[in-house]
Symmetry: C2
Subunit: 266 residues, 2 copies
């Protein structure tokens, strides 16, 4: 009977994989890898292939989203197939769809978890995890304009909650939405809607290259943050709701926030 | 100049550590490990010490929460100290406090991320990550009774959002709150408050031993879930808000949910 193991690669490069995951790759009959759902900026397929002693077959968006992962399912029918994915697997809905398809064909599925940008960005900011409301992805402005991110930030803010914003990527075109572009876009919507979700004086945290040895974590008022250079992608953006005094302390010490934040905390 | 590296051990056992993290441990002058903020049920300190070729010094709650991590900070003043923690570091607020204390003493800090129960439980359930509202920890019922978890579940539900509930642990006493006990407790509060947050017909998902090779993931109505045996800890509990039809499909296929859930989805 066949088996399909979803394996999370964690963050940044080929060294984010866990010992358990590497062992699963070593004992697989076929190893697939997809690198389009998130950006691992320093990842080397060659180096991971060498570490695991296996050939890695690259899977692109079309394989999963148009052909429903048929090539992976076919391999998993008779042997042990592994699908390597950035971050923690099954956070991207396309992987959940593939897992359901496999189970429906009586292919056993398992999951080996990896570090995710969701907890990494929150952890690096020093903000309290249980104070985050729902998260949202900010799409490129040239897509159909979406009010959702602005509304989610506003709804969370009214509840005193923070918002984690993942920023859109188009790996195939090597295009990655930046913190600055995302902020500009939200400011434009604010100018129209005037709900106060993202004003000049809103506090936000930009996180760049989480999982690398030199992540940039910078908290400030949106007006100031717009001028900050975060460097290379990937970028993530957090909006602040109500600030606990311990969180203000964390942002000042760990995220180079202005001392003034202390006055806004409670 | 000294350095303190926070390293996430990931889930379940000593093989959850990443290759990058293991390399950091190998090159450290002193290695500390705390295993009280989360349960890694199959973790072996001896095996990790052997893999890393280092002595691991155990840190208990008192070291961090009463003595403010003085022993770790002292070691980090002059050399490279590493603190190993379950899951993804800095999700527990006590680690953030230690990081702030280190930076204030001009000790450089870095973070190596690990897999977290937060994204693992959500991924295993097949539910959509961006549909989760704020998360909450359910304390033992013999602590000061807290209405917060009940209120958070209710607030999220009104917004159509799911809730991730972490269940309290007292590692020192080897006591771990179970899904069944947590559900009983919430049902008792429901009987008093009658806000409809956790009724017999609420849908929830229990996740046991995420990160192991045999996690139990079971979705059902609360009345049924109360009778389910989830086995050994750690346990996590998810409450459902509005269910997308793809999520219903995932719960039925991946979490053994009753077919009836399909009718509740949209």
């Amino acid at each position: 009977m066949g088996e399909l193991v979803f394996i999370g690669l964690g963050l940044h490069d080929h060294l984010g994989i866990s010992l358990r995951a590497l062992e699963e790759v070593r004992t697989a009959d076929q190893v697939f890898i997809e690198l389009y759902t998130s950006l691992l900026p320093a990842f080397s397929t060659e180096k991971l292939a060498e570490l695991a002693g296996k050939k890695l077959r690259n899977i692109v968006r079309k394989d999963l989203e148009e052909e429903n992962g048929e090539v992976v399912l076919e391999a998993a029918k008779t042997g042990k197939a592994v699908l390597l994915v950035p971050g923690d697997p099954l956070i991207a809905t396309t992987h959940v769809a593939l897992r359901i398809a496999a189970e429906k064909r009586a292919i056993r599925t398992r999951v080996v978890h990896g570090a995710s940008i969701v907890t990494a960005a929150i952890g690096l900011s020093g903000l309290h995890n249980y104070k985050f409301g729902r998260s949202v992805t900010i799409p490129f402005p040239d897509d159909i304009p979406s009010l959702t991110p602005y509304q989610v930030i506003g709804q969370n803010k009214k509840l005193g909650l923070h918002t984690l914003c993942l920023l859109d990527i188009r790996t195939e075109e090597k295009r990655y939405l930046t913190i600055n572009k995302a902020l500009e876009q939200l400011r434009k919507i604010e100018a129209q809607k005037k709900d106060g979700a993202v004003t000049e004086n809103s506090v936000a945290v930009g996180v760049a290259r989480a999982g690398s040895n030199n992540p940039v974590v910078k908290a400030d008022f949106v007006g100031e943050l717009l001028k900050h250079d975060f460097g290379e992608p990937p970028h993530t953006l957090l909006f602040i709701g109500k600030l606990h005094f311990m969180e203000a302390e964390a942002l000042i010490t760990l995220a180079d926030a202005p001392e003034k934040l202390r006055e806004l905390s409670e």
